[in-house]
């Protein structure tokens, strides 16, 4: 009885909540503005309202259907501004060329944070609401045509391009709205401040407290008899791209550490990332050794790697994973870098993982964008996808991480991971391996810790790779390394649907705010820079936003498999293109049903059932206590499995 009742009530809620989106575009967009008015935290990345990535925007709330009058009034309104967000310019009669529905005329508002377009000439208002941070390039297309229109193209970092046009200004002195946009889209190039520094929203949770290096090492059991915490890099003197807190083998004094650092590119010596709680096998990361053409050696470095190996009593071997293809590694010798020779490092085995560099990855994503945006060629979909090699790169990264995890878990062997500088591919590999090895990182908090640790504190150069607020879109340092990592995580969640506490929306949100410049988390290149810029003091962390509304990001199927190591099958038969991210702007690609809402209902139901199980369990214990010892043992034991899964 109870069961069907609850289904019904969920159902009725659902049907009313679905109403707006089904009925018309107008009500969809209204429900959106209602939502943003109501929801505490801002939703930074709204999509085209038609594309309204229904799957991933939490817009389906229980709302009475708005009347036509309300729609009108709402559409006159400006976007719901964030704290300290100010309107910079406003233009009417702008045409937006939507690749999916065609040309739309309307008004554009540019603030110091977003671009807001609302169409006027249709009965159904269309809304485009986008943070300026995603803009990679603004280009004027052609000169003034005979009709006197000026056209602008916006190339975005999140796999879409936008095109606008407006009439040639009669007053030639007045700046076009898109010139204003350029100014605020690239604040860094224009001597302005990134919006994150102005945005002062207060959230119930403080995301800057999520990660503390010492407590994370403590969670792993460090310091212990073979590993210690060193303060040698306290002022970032030994390595300015490393965090201040490092874990190193006990028997290597700080002085020797400095000499090891001198032998490694950018001073990034091998330090601990993760230690196996039972076997003491470790994952350590570093940059390439400065071997050079002459095959230089460093006694300290050799001794140091020996110490890493000795710290693990289980194995008399050490695996060095060089993420690069061996050809590239050899080529690096010309620039003074290189790889460990097996003569110099006894008991070490070097393995190349054949992952390509940032330039190859950038090119691959560019091709992918060409294939998926705006239109998809139906007849050659799979072969076009193949020609981008994107999935092949994903496969190589996952395969590399799997080998690392396997060596640590099954081989009980310590591993050293590096690429050239040890901040791109190395971060991908160590963090993915840790995700496979340690269930803690598969929780929401744990994943935040993992990102803070392996990516942010170890100096993945977010500023350079993403180019926040920088107009130099051809910068060769830009690369989708982090996106690739999140893609790999998504692939893992597909294979282990119940092993991750977070859902797809969580991953998409992280990627959206990677670009949005609303939060300070992904600004700057290293911990040192972040400290200098006082990022934690002056900006808000994206984790504050996420942790204040966890129910949006929780996977209802999550079962705590914390003691499991995940070994994904890295077969191309399992890898898929992440449509929910790469093709989300295409309304035809949108999933037919927003599962997001259903997930939340399931979560609520699960909580309710858990409560009931607890109650019943209490009842059972009471009964069995009163009804003598005959069955005393069995009920409690029998409950265990149920409890486990609920």
């Amino acid at each position: 009885m109870e069961k069907s009742g609850s289904v019904d009530s969920l159902g009725s809620k659902r049907s009313s909540s679905r109403q707006p989106s089904v009925d018309s575009l107008s009500s969809t967009s209204t429900s959106r503005s209602d939502r943003s008015a109501q929801a505490k935290p801002p939703f930074a990345m709204s999509s085209d309202s038609v594309a309204a990535s229904a799957e991933l925007s939490p817009e389906f709330r229980v709302k009475p259907k708005p009347t036509a009058k309300q729609v009108l009034r709402d559409s006159d309104k400006e976007p719901q501004l964030l704290p300290n967000e100010t309107v910079q310019d406003y233009a009417q009669d702008v045409t937006y060329f939507c690749p999916f529905i065609g040309a739309l005329r309307g008004t554009v508002i540019v603030t110091n944070y977003r671009l807001f377009f609302r169409s006027m000439d249709r009965e159904l208002p269309f809304v485009l609401d986008m943070p300026l941070g995603v803009v990679s390039r603004v280009e004027k297309i052609g000169s003034a045509s005979n009709r006197g229109d000026v056209s602008y193209g916006l190339v975005c970092k999140d796999i879409r391009n936008l095109r606008f046009a407006h009439k040639q200004m009669e007053d030639t002195l007045r700046k076009s709205i898109f010139e204003v946009l350029v100014k605020f889209a690239f604040p860094v190039s224009n001597g302005l401040q990134i919006f994150a520094f102005e945005y002062g929203q207060v959230f119930p949770e403080n995301g800057w407290k999520v990660y503390d290096a010492l407590s994370e090492y403590k969670r792993q059991g460090i310091p212990n008899e073979s590993w210690r915490i060193t303060k040698v890099n306290d002022h970032y003197e030994v390595c300015d791209t490393y965090p201040s807190t490092l874990a190193v083998p006990v028997n290597i004094p700080d002085e020797e550490l400095k000499r090891v650092a001198a032998f490694r590119a950018k001073g990034r010596m091998p330090v601990l990332s993760w230690i196996h709680p039972e076997s003491q096998a470790t994952v350590t990361r570093c940059s390439q050794p400065m071997v050079g053409v002459n095959g230089k050696r460093s006694k300290e470095d050799e001794k140091y790697l020996q110490a890493i190996m000795d710290a693990n009593a289980q194995s008399h071997k050490l695996f060095i994973f060089d993420a690069r293809p061996s050809v590239n590694a050899a080529a690096n010798k010309m620039k003074g870098g290189g790889y460990e020779s097996e003569d110099a490092y006894q008991n070490a085995e070097l393995v190349f993982l054949d992952i390509h560099n940032i330039h190859v990855m950038r090119e691959s994503l560019r091709k992918l964008k060409d294939v998926v945006y705006p239109n998809i060629e139906d007849s050659h979909w799979l072969s076009n996808l193949e020609s981008t090699h994107w999935l092949e790169h994903i496969k190589l990264i996952l395969a590399g991480a799997l080998r690392i995890a396997d060596k640590v878990e099954s081989g009980k062997t310590s591993v050293v991971v590096h690429c050239s500088d040890g901040w791109d591919r190395t971060g991908q590999l160590t963090s993915l391996a840790m995700l496979m090895l340690d269930g803690y990182y598969r929780t929401i908090y744990g994943f935040e810790v993992l990102l803070e640790k392996e990516w942010l504190s170890f100096g993945h150069r977010f500023q350079l790779r993403i180019g926040h607020g920088d107009k130099n879109h051809t910068d060769a340092d830009r690369s989708p390394v982090f996106i690739q990592f999140i893609d790999c995580v998504w692939q893992l969640t597909r294979q282990f649907p119940a092993a991750f506490e977070f859902n797809e929306y969580f991953l998409v949100t992280i990627l959206d705010h990677l670009y949005s410049c609303l939060f300070g988390t992904f600004l700057c290149n290293s911990e040192q820079q972040r400290l200098k810029e006082e990022i934690p003091k002056r900006t808000v962390s994206v984790w504050s936003y996420i942790n204040s509304q966890l129910e949006e990001f929780t996977n209802p199927l999550y079962v705590n498999y914390s003691n499991h190591v995940l070994f994904p099958v890295v077969s191309l038969r399992h890898l898929e293109l992440w449509v929910g991210y790469y093709i989300r702007w295409n309304p035809r690609m949108r999933p037919q049903e927003p599962v997001h809402q259903r997930h939340k209902e399931l979560l609520a139901k699960r909580a309710e059932l858990q409560k009931r199980v607890d109650e019943l369990q209490r009842e059972v214990t009471n009964r069995s206590a009163s009804s003598l010892s005959e069955h005393a043992g069995s009920p409690t034991r029998s409950i265990t499995p149920v409890q486990t899964f609920v």
Binding site: E2, V7, D8, G11, R14, S15, R18, E278, I376, D378, S379, W381, L382, E386, L391, E392, E409, S410, R494, Q495, P497, A498, A499, L557, V559, Y561, N563, H564, V565, F567, P568, V569, S571, L572, R573, H574, L575, E576, L577, R588, M589, Q592, E593, V595, R598, L602, L609, Q610, R612, V613, L616, E619, V620, H631, S634, S638, P641, V642, F645, V646
Partner: protein, 582 residues
């Protein structure tokens, strides 16, 4: 049994399809199964693996030439299992090989597993099992008979059409002479009859086979039959006639005195070709697909390009496109539709059943899906016997006696449904596992449902008295097949599904084609989690919970592998593999 020469062979090696790994074990040959039991000595942590292969599942056995390790025996099954044994002594291998060759080609129905399978039920339970699906009740649910449609007894004795069921629904105005006349003008006598009635718009979905029109032949009865169908629907002045074949094939059929309706002769029809390829193209396409995915070291590009070039997903798309056309015509335009292909039992069944699935939420429930298969496939005479196992191909007088009637038409239908469940995760009561289980038993010959080619054959064989019904078994296991995302409310708000047919929405169905390749399994299946979800639902039942341990114990067993894994050491992640699959 007299055909078994060697019931047991020891020291047999089972090779993994995609790696160099292998396991040693013992091979047993029984009257119904080939069983491989892994020798338990090598690892004690997990239970010895057992593989049971039903003889009826075996599509081909191949003995390869002798190697240093022994004699290889490759067995390809109809449920896409492929096993590769190496038997040490050639004589043993040959014995098994020749026994299997005999066993997998039963000469009479009596040899089929269904006639010896006994799930410990008495006659009454068996009868009840058969009564779960009642097609009369199904037509009543649709609102038939009504003022425009009636039950006709013209086929009571299978005189008019022997591949049709006894009970047929036709328009009120279609008199017996019209029916008989029409049936004579249709291939195999399969005249137009009702298969689905869309009550809301009073629109009907009818099915038949191609007309014997040749280049110019006409049949007045057939024309008035279509007229009657058209008149039964007041919402629309015309009736759609969907020929599911490509136009070229239909044209070619004209030379053989068959063909398609001429719009000039039939008043009020709109004729439409849909372009689904024939069974031979489908069979070849599937073979190519299996070749591609069976390649051992497949590169990403080979995989994607191979998937595209084999055309399998394109064919699935064509079938779904046709179903969408049907569903739109009925639900949006309110027009009646007549569907046919050549004989009206392959493509027609696919399109009618998928179309109904899109239109009616009832068919998306577990019970409703069984009804749908029973109605559009079993009762309307999809030739399961021919298309899934070759044994009685002598009965079939088609294609100059060519026994090549085997075709994955039903598999394709199930895959179409699966593709829809991927697009509409909340719309279906059942999970992928349910589809896989049906696919398994279509080929297993363990239950009577799919034996024989049509109702008449099944009645002659007294199937209901001598075999059991699959539906009863699936119903008793319903808990295992529930989809946790299923939402009743969604079905109410979205009675009609409108799938997208963009290329991306057609994915490779890994769990169908790699179901038995352990190394290809995801380490954690959503199915597992679904069961867990159901656990949660179950535990609301106060009585069961409190009464104690027996239920929970058995549950514990079924989730044992997970529990064991939790308790024991970390590295046995493999235990998460849902072992009941193999």
């Amino acid at each position: 049994m007299e055909h078994i020469r060697t019931p047991k062979v020891e020291q047999v090696r089972l090779l993994d399809r995609f790696s160099n790994k292998f396991t040693n074990g013992t091979l047993y040959l029984t009257a119904t199964h080939l069983i491989f039991v892994e020798s338990s000595s090598n690892n004690s942590t997990s239970a010895a693996q057992e593989i049971w292969i039903l003889h009826h599942h075996i599509a081909s056995v191949e003995k390869l030439s002798l190697t240093t390790t022994g004699c290889p025996l490759v067995i390809q099954c109809r449920n896409f299992r492929l096993v590769h044994f190496v038997v040490q002594r050639e004589r043993d291998c040959h014995d098994i090989y020749s026994s299997l060759l005999r066993l997998l080609r039963p000469v009479s129905y009596q040899e089929l597993y269904a006639f010896s399978y006994n799930p410990k039920q008495n006659d009454q339970q068996r009868e009840e099992g058969w009564q779960i699906i009642d097609l009369g009740a199904e037509f009543e649910r649709m609102g038939v008979p009504c003022d425009q449609w009636q039950l006709t007894n013209v086929n009571r004795d299978y005189k008019v059409c022997e591949t049709y069921p006894r009970d047929l629904y036709v328009p009120i105005t279609a008199s017996k002479p019209i029916i008989v006349g029409s049936s004579k003008f249709r291939s195999k006598g399969r005249f137009p009859v009702l298969t689905y009635f869309y009550q809301e718009k009073k629109a009907a979905v009818c099915r038949c086979s191609q007309p014997l029109s040749g280049f110019s032949a006409r049949c007045l009865e057939d024309e008035s039959m279509l007229q009657a169908i058209s008149k039964a629907n007041h919402n629309s002045r015309f009736v759609y006639v969907m020929d599911t074949r490509p136009k070229l094939n239909a044209l070619a059929n004209r030379a053989a005195g068959k063909g398609y309706e001429n719009e000039d002769n039939y008043s009020n029809i709109r004729f439409q070709f849909v372009g689904i390829e024939n069974i031979h193209v489908m069979r070849t396409s599937l073979q190519k697909l299996l070749e591609v995915i069976g390649t051992r070291s497949l590169s990403m590009s080979d995989h994607l390009v191979g998937l595209e070039s084999c055309g399998w997903l394109r064919h699935i798309k064509a079938v779904i496109d046709a179903a969408i056309f049907l569903s739109k015509a009925v639900t949006v335009e309110g027009a009646s539709v007549l569907v046919h292909c050549s004989d009206g039992w392959d493509r027609t069944s696919q399109v009618c059943s998928l179309g109904a699935l899109l239109m009616d939420p009832y068919y998306r429930t577990i019970k409703g899906f069984m009804v749908l298969i029973e109605k559009d496939w079993i009762s309307f005479g999809h030739k399961f016997a021919d298309s899934v196992y070759t044994i009685y191909s002598t009965w079939c007088d088609q294609l100059d006696g060519d026994p090549k009637e085997v075709s994955p038409i039903f598999t394709q239908f199930l895959e179409g449904v699966w593709q829809l469940t991927e697009q509409f995760p909340q719309a279906f009561e059942f999970s992928e596992w349910f589809l896989l289980q049906i696919h398994e038993h279509v080929h297993s010959c363990q239950y009577g449902n799919f034996l024989g080619n049509n109702q008449r054959q099944r009645e002659d064989l007294r199937m209901r008295e001598r075999t059991h019904s699959l539906w009863a078994y699936l119903m008793s296991e319903k808990q295992n097949y529930l989809n946790p995302f299923y939402s009743l409310a969604y079905s109410e708000t979205h009675p009609v599904l409108e799938p997208s047919t963009l290329p991306y929405h057609f994915k490779f169905w890994r769990n169908m084609y790699h179901q038995f390749d352990r190394s290809m399994h995801p380490r954690q299946s959503i199915l597992k989690t679904e069961e867990v979800g159901e656990e949660a639902t179950e535990s609301t039942d106060t009585e069961r919970k409190v009464e104690g341990s027996s239920g929970s114990e058995s549950r514990k067993q079924s989730y044992g592998d997970v529990c064991v894994a939790r308790g024991s050491c970390r590295s046995v992640c493999d235990n998460l593999l849902f072992t009941q699959w193999s």
